[in-house]
Amino acid sequence: MAGLILCQEVNVRSPYYVPELGVHLYTGEELSYFIFNHVLLIPDDFLEERLFVFLGELGYARLEERLRGYRGGDIYEVLPVILQEIRYYSSPELFRFDKTLETLRAMPEAERRKAKGDYLFGEGLYHYALREYEDILAMDAVKLGDANFTGQVWHNMGSVYASMEAVREAMRCYRRAYSLLHDEKILEEIYALCQLSAGVTLPEELKAEISPEQEEKFRRRFSERERQAVFEGKALEAAALRDRPPEERADAYARLLENWKNEYRRNQV
């Protein structure tokens, strides 16, 4: 329903901290938003004292009491209860959220954790993503499923390392992924990694697998992506500031740099 939602200004003494996002939550609406949009970030031990204290300070005493009774229960049963009580989301939105939970609940544990790892990777939370992937790979073979799934995990882990510019680790993961999946796309990523990093060369056994036509295709695409790179990501963020009035520009660059630093620090956890 389009419109305004009346909300209360509440001054909580103990805001709820979400380490993965590096933010504090101060209101019931923010907690609802976090649950609804970042359900994969919700830890298994979500129902803990600091959440109860937070809800109590927000004035949701009844909900707090109810959740204390749920401690140790199925987290996916509890989340809709919280959203319903806070009333930030409408009924159709809650219905959609229930569907998401159903899908997650139906997933095997390894797949759910991979989804979480992928989500964390997408959010730029590399260390948290690596932790998920490592935990998956440490699972026993039955839980892990087929080689295809394991290969995907190795591949995604390689991509995380590549994003962190940990080239050797990335190469190690990509090679494991390729050994399981034999996917041309992974070969191309390995090729690109070598192009980007001085001192890293294509391993001999992979070199043999790349035909001259493939190599030409990889080279062409890499050049194209290099050209495109100035129009996306951080380069684009910085370029956008050129349109600011001159008197605001220096401050804007300083803020952007600060954001990048914070992002970097967050990933050093």
């Binding site: 389009a2 419109g3 305004l4 009346l6 933010v23 609406e29 923010e30 009333r87």
Partner: protein, 448 residues
């Protein structure tokens, strides 16, 4: 008392009108005062809970001693300040320096230099009111003030801000102070009298050195809650009170007022007429005017009408629930309700930010909202008289792009008079998830 003029003189009360009242969950006790401040004279009335009546604070034995000249006199070479007639007298004897027209001085934020020292209008009014409030304190032997209502001819935003600061300096808690118009005090005075005096229209003539004002009020009984509608008209026929110093001048003044009565009262069913102001300390000089008034109407003559009305309101403000079943629509009160639709507890319903009948100076309101697929704020203005709804739009299009429902805005409604409304919407962001941009949007509009 139909067809006769009578004085409303009341005997000076001796008992302490100290009451114990419950307000804001606390028990407070003290004086309940109505203070009428004008440029020429001020008057103070005190509500006696024991007698359930209002008593004027008098300086002497007669009725006119309730008129305290609004002047302040600093005695030469001393730190002593005097007010009222004594201040006048000492200044005339060249024993001190006098400042008058203190309300006008405050309105224009003026200053006065006395014996080489510069005093702001706020300083001077603080000194004056300190001494004025001392009168009931001394009379009733209590320092505590439970509630005070100041009655002013005009309510100007700057004037009220300065008066508020003066009250702060006097140590009067803001929760116990109100500033109301003469019109409103007149209306409440009228409905605080016996019912047969306000069956139909009630009017008042206030004749002072500052001018001639006509007031009219009626109770609209067909509405729930009932409406107390009052208005003031500053009459162009005003004259200098010095005119009454000669028989010829008196006759001329009588003719002027008679013409006013013909114009203002004809074809109206008026139950009561009040004559007040220093021009009506007596009505002997206006026989023709009084004859016209005393035509199947109750006519009352006397002082401290506005101060009494203010004291009645002050008393009512101390009660957990008002004794007056009215919404007052008059000078100083909002004639329209300002609201907007918002979801509360899952239901989309109108949320009132300022109600018709509220005192505009105190009607400032704010609320926090989350925008759910909304880029324009739609403010509803509902006229109490016609129930017509007007929509005022405030565009929020320049807010930073964020996911839906992640922008919190604070909507603040304030007034610079009963007609001038300002609505501001300030981006409050969504916590640390989406920090506030600090952008704000503003719309000023008129209501009637």
């Amino acid at each position: 008392m139909t067809g006769t003029a009578r004085s409303r003189h009341r005997s000076r009360g001796g008992s302490v009108p100290d009451v114990t009242i419950r307000k804001e969950g606390k028990t407070v006790s003290g004086l309940i005062l109505g203070v009428d401040i004008c440029d020429s004279y001020s008057q103070v009335s005190c509500f006696s809970a024991e007698k359930m009546a209002v008593e004027p604070v008098l300086l002497g034995a007669d009725e006119t001693s309730c008129l305290i000249p609004t002047v302040l006199c600093k005695l030469r070479g001393s730190d002593r300040w005097l007010i009222g007639s004594e201040g006048y007298r000492r200044a005339l004897m060249n024993e001190g320096t006098m400042v008058d027209k203190l309300v006008k001085l405050l309105l224009r934020d003026g200053t006065a230099t006395i014996e080489g020292v510069l005093y702001s209008a706020e300083d001077l009014l603080t000194l004056y009111l300190e001494r004025v409030l001392e009168l009931p304190r001394r009379q009733y032997q209590t320092d505590e003030i439970a509630e005070v209502v100041f009655s002013l001819q005009q309510l100007d935003a700057d004037l009220l801000d300065r008066l508020t600061r003066v009250c702060d300096r006097l140590g009067l808690p803001r929760s116990r102070v109100q500033f109301l118009s003469h019109t409103e005090c007149f209306a409440y005075f009228a409905v605080s009298q016996s019912k047969d005096t306000f069956t139909n229209l009630v009017s008042a003539f206030d004749l002072t050195d500052g001018g001639l004002n006509y007031y009219e009020m009626k109770v609209l009984r067909g509405r729930r809650p009932m409406v107390l509608e009052a208005r003031r008209e500053a009459l162009e026929e005003a004259f200098d009170l010095d005119l009454l110093n000669t028989p010829l001048g008196e006759k001329m003044a009588d003719t002027i007022l008679s013409a006013c009565a013909d114009r203002l009262l004809q074809k109206k069913v008026i139950t009561s007429v009040y004559l007040t102001g220093e021009g009506f300390t007596s009505a002997d000089w206006a026989p023709e005017f009084v004859r016209k008034l005393c035509n199947k109407r109750k006519v009352f003559l006397g002082q401290h009408l506005f101060a009494d009305g203010a004291a009645f309101i002050a008393y009512d403000s101390t009660l957990p629930q008002s004794n007056y079943p009215y919404i007052c629509l008059c000078e100083g009160r909002l004639a329209s309700t300002i609201s907007l639709y918002a979801v509360r507890g899952g239901k989309n319903e109108p949320l009132t930010l300022a109600s018709a009948g509220s005192n505009w100076y105190e009607a400032k309101a704010s609320a926090l909202f989350i925008l759910d697929d909304v880029h324009t704020l739609e403010i509803l203005v509902t006229s109490f008289a016609t129930q017509r709804v007007e929509t005022i739009s405030l565009s929020l299009a320049e807010l930073p792009a964020r996911p839906n429902k992640t922008t919190r805005i604070e909507v603040i409604v304030s007034f610079s008079s009963e007609n001038h409304v300002t609505v501001r919407a300030i981006d409050r962001g969504f916590g640390e998830l989406f920090p506030a941009s600090g952008l704000s949007f503003r719309k000023d509009f008129l209501i009637s």
